[in-house]
Point group: C2
Chain length 424, copies 2
Amino acid sequence: MPKRVVVVGGGFGGLQVVRSLRNTPFALTLIDRTNHHLFQPLLYQVATAALSPADIAVPLRGIVRGYSNIGVLLDEVIGVQLEQRRVHCLRSGALEYDFLVLAPGARHWYFGNDDWERCAPGLKSLADALEIRRRLLHAYEQAAIASEPETTRAWTTFVVVGGGPTGVEVAGALAEIGRHTMAKDYPMLDPRSIRIILIEASSRILPTFPPPLSAKATVALEELGVELRLGQRVIDVECDAITLESGEQIPTRTTIWAAGNRAPAWLRTLGVPLDHMGRVIVERDCSVPGYPEVFVIGDAACYRDERRGELPALAPVALQQGRFVARLLRRDIPLQKRPPFRYRNKGMLATIGRARAVAAFPGGIKLHGVLAWLLWAGVHIAFLIRFRNRAAVMTEWLWYYLTFQPRARLLIETAYTDTPSPNP
Amino acid sequence: MPKRVVVVGGGFGGLQVVRSLRNTPFALTLIDRTNHHLFQPLLYQVATAALSPADIAVPLRGIVRGYSNIGVLLDEVIGVQLEQRRVHCLRSGALEYDFLVLAPGARHWYFGNDDWERCAPGLKSLADALEIRRRLLHAYEQAAIASEPETTRAWTTFVVVGGGPTGVEVAGALAEIGRHTMAKDYPMLDPRSIRIILIEASSRILPTFPPPLSAKATVALEELGVELRLGQRVIDVECDAITLESGEQIPTRTTIWAAGNRAPAWLRTLGVPLDHMGRVIVERDCSVPGYPEVFVIGDAACYRDERRGELPALAPVALQQGRFVARLLRRDIPLQKRPPFRYRNKGMLATIGRARAVAAFPGGIKLHGVLAWLLWAGVHIAFLIRFRNRAAVMTEWLWYYLTFQPRARLLIETAYTDTPSPNP
């Protein structure tokens, strides 16, 4: 009987495991809450109306189609019994495994204030991105018909919480779309009333990048008109204002959360030590302490590298861990003989807007400006998993960069609130 | 002071009026419930995962951008006071007009059984199409994990109610995606268990086409595996089964409604005679009886042509009426001197699937098969309002026709049920 490998999560890490084990004697089951692999680094472009969901997502069944040793299950994991070697799913019940790879990623985290989500959605899934896009477009429409100047200002004030790569990318895109697209679509609005505010708790944006690049990114954002609030924490989020530690209250109807992440709560059912972000603290071979047949990779794993410390939550880490784990399984290496996982840092990129980006490479090499942006665009296009998406995204970008008219600025209010339950 | 023209509806008719009156001394306000013009003839392709919303919709503000005599208002009309010359909107209150053009289109209609909508959504807006797409993809996922064969069968049975062009197009697309895409994505399903059933109350599908073309379309649908139920009315719709007049009960989890249409209920506030579909019975110049400054065009108008009888609810009718009304306004023709509107029938087209279509032209000219389909594709591509959409749709079609892998089969469950109210 073939060994059963259950992979939880069809993101960069999980999908890499599945792809590396295609056409092998393993019987693979890929479980995901959605039916698609998402190219998360470009998700902010769906949220800011530059791309359509189909440009950055690919149906999982389409990817693994034709490999008879791979099955896909659309379901949610609710727990794992390590001793019994069982994964429990919400709809399909228990699945038994010989090997288990957990790559569920992370969700945004409000530091315990879960009620903030309603007024400040995060950006992790296509549903999140479409909701942010809906709010963004809705805000401009409301601003256009508001009768009081303060109301208009609150609708045209956009707050982004968190100055990491996602927050910087969102703030830059909001500023660009505000200045170049919305100011022309809404001639009744004073362009100066459109404000984008980026809040970061530490003393500089892009804190994981070298300080000189943070400085370059700061200048680029400010040139786009983004206001920065550094060294400030958000202490309250309401749907019409947010409050900072300093006491400053910012009236806004649109807040986007890019500050905290947390691994899924069901990882607690493993009964093994987790770190402060709910991530599993894994061994040097990415396995769970005491369970050499179970691995955690990607954003849900806390991997402590001897040289580097904790590995960052980046797609390349997940991809490399996926490839590493698949190799261990293929070669059936016992625990004692397993080499440690080694992350090969190929650099970090963040984009700030049209033709602006920063890049940091090993050995202290730094890039910024147009060159970094071309590199960013090239790397992202190259990594889009399927050729068809590459062409689609490139033409969308070309169109947008020529016309400043992103095609996807469609406000689609959901009509069906009372749909049949998915679990009848 | 410039004459104020209020246009209700940014569909084919309303948008044509606005475009024809750009750069004129009129002050135009275009009111729409959505922020986009929708190319409705291709909406079924969004519902069946072949296209993305951005491929067939264009933001209204982007279209009229640069014409200083045109404003856009995202709002819902709730009534008209003809004597006071006022339009009342849900959010922005009352608007005064010198001329009013009503082009609000129609919504689907359940012949009084409004509760059927929950289980059998219609196909009029992008939100409708995305909801149908969600149900379609969800159904296959449920079928894949169902433990009882009857449950699987109910999830893989798709019922389309209404055999007009929309119903035929949806049924054909469902059959194609079922046979070519889903059967490969879901190898655990028996392809023969995938059933598409098209129900039509009259004795033939495409009843507005010449009978020989109905026969051709019937053959084409049957070749695709669609089961037809002709001369049968639906008497009950539940979320797990529908019941026909004959007593037949069809267990299904996915029903799509393409049977009835009705003009918006607020047209009753006009206090003028409406027909059985709630449409305003207009004069020969498309104006409302007794109110020469008010026009109704498109699907919400009942226009009785002396030669042809009632004009059909087709995009070309709305477009030509829009152009006609704009000309009356531009030339400021008094009621007595107005010529009657004349519809120039350029033919009717319906597509049944890849390389299958039927076409009927004036003078009894009929086409079917590949030639009709090429014509259909050419006409639709040509009419897509902006070049960029044309290119995007053509590449999507080419991709699909080469690979049978429609890119937009993304199941996106809405996460935010508790969003802030749009009217705070």
